[in-house]
């Protein structure tokens, strides 16, 4: 009984870590105007795990917050290329950095 209780407590701590939000940022070249932002948002909204999308025209960055697994690099790069832009670098952020 004691073991089951301990396992339950351990699981309660682990679940938020394994299924929580993940964040990544992508540096993008070719972002020029508000229409570009809309194109990217519409493209990334189609990816199921994406929960939140932020775009910075000032820093030419895309920030994705996902629920669970991050989309793989190839999917991210192809989505950006299909929207008409050039992906430069993908950085997975520690979640504390996005607050």
């Amino acid at each position: 009984m004691k073991n089951i209780l301990l396992a339950g407590i351990l699981l309660a701590f682990l679940v938020p870590v394994t299924s929580g939000a993940r964040t990544l940022e992508v540096d993008i070249h070719g972002l020029t105007c508000a229409f570009c932002v809309d194109s990217l948002e519409r493209a990334f909204r189609k990816i199921e795990s994406v929960r939140d999308i932020k775009i910075s025209l000032e820093h030419k960055k895309l920030r994705l917050v996902t629920e669970g697994d991050l989309p793989d690099d190839a999917t991210i790069r192809q989505t950006i290329l299909d929207a008409g832009f050039t992906p430069v670098r993908i950085t997975v952020l520690p979640n504390a950095a996005t607050d």
Binding site: H29, G30, T32, C33, A34, F35, C36, V37, D38, S39, E41, R42, A43, K54, I55, S56, L57, E58, H59, K60, R63, L81, D82, A83, G84, F85, T86
Partner: protein, 217 residues
């Protein structure tokens, strides 16, 4: 993208842009509504459709020449500050009037975009069949982002762009008609409202008022 030509418009794969433009000519006393639709087949392949319709004066033969263009982005270089790209255009021009002959269209469009400045240049040649005369058009457009001076860290603010253009229209057997256009664009992520004033600088007689709206979906 400028006021007088749609061919420089960037369209994403699967994306569409609808533009409705009202051109009101002072001396000719005509109002023409031009409907344009652009569809992104791929990131570098776009279909561009255009159909003018004379609103005023009424009567028969209100529909003008329908235009279909395929644009292929043959070269593109993106940078942090902007982009440069060259597109090739090929298509056809067909009239709704059965006695008018169609024309083949071929051309090119170049875009240079850096920070607050965008420059677009396009040239389209129309080779007429039968008794339709050959024709051509060019558009040189400079757009400057008036507001905001700097974008916010994340997200968007509404944008205001000033536009200055030099446009030319030619038909075989006639002189080139050059026009100067000035205008203003209000840019929202999903829609653009724009207006301008064009003046014939070849003989100074014709003036055009332009009102246009674009929807991105």
């Amino acid at each position: 993208m400028g006021l007088r030509s749609l061919v420089a418009l960037p369209v994403d794969k699967g994306g569409s842009v609808l533009r409705l433009t009202l051109e009101s000519a002072d001396e000719a006393a005509t109002d023409v509504l031009i409907a344009n639709l652009a569809y992104g087949i791929g990131a570098r392949q776009t279909l561009l459709l255009g159909l003018p319709y004379r609103v005023d004066p009424g009567g028969d033969d209100r529909s003008g020449d329908g235009s279909l263009l395929y644009r292929h982005i043959a070269w593109q270089r993106d940078s942090f500050a902007g982009t440069r790209r060259l597109g090739l255009l090929v298509g056809a021009l067909a009239s709704s009037q059965s006695d008018d002959n169609p024309a083949a269209q071929i051309g090119a469009v170049y875009t240079w975009f850096e920070n607050r400045n965008e420059f677009d240049a396009d040239l389209v040649f129309q080779a007429g069949s039968g008794d339709r005369p050959d024709a051509a058009r060019y558009d040189l457009s400079w757009q400057y982002r008036l507001h905001p001076e700097r974008y916010p860290e994340w997200g968007l603010s509404r944008e205001w762009h000033g536009v200055i253009e030099l446009n030319g229209r030619w038909r075989d057997g006639e002189d080139v008609l050059h026009q100067a256009t000035v205008g203003l664009q209000w840019v929202h992520p999903r829609a653009v409202l724009e207006g301008g004033f064009a003046r014939d600088i070849s003989n100074g007689s014709e003036e055009l008022l332009l009102l246009s709206t674009r929807f991105h979906f």
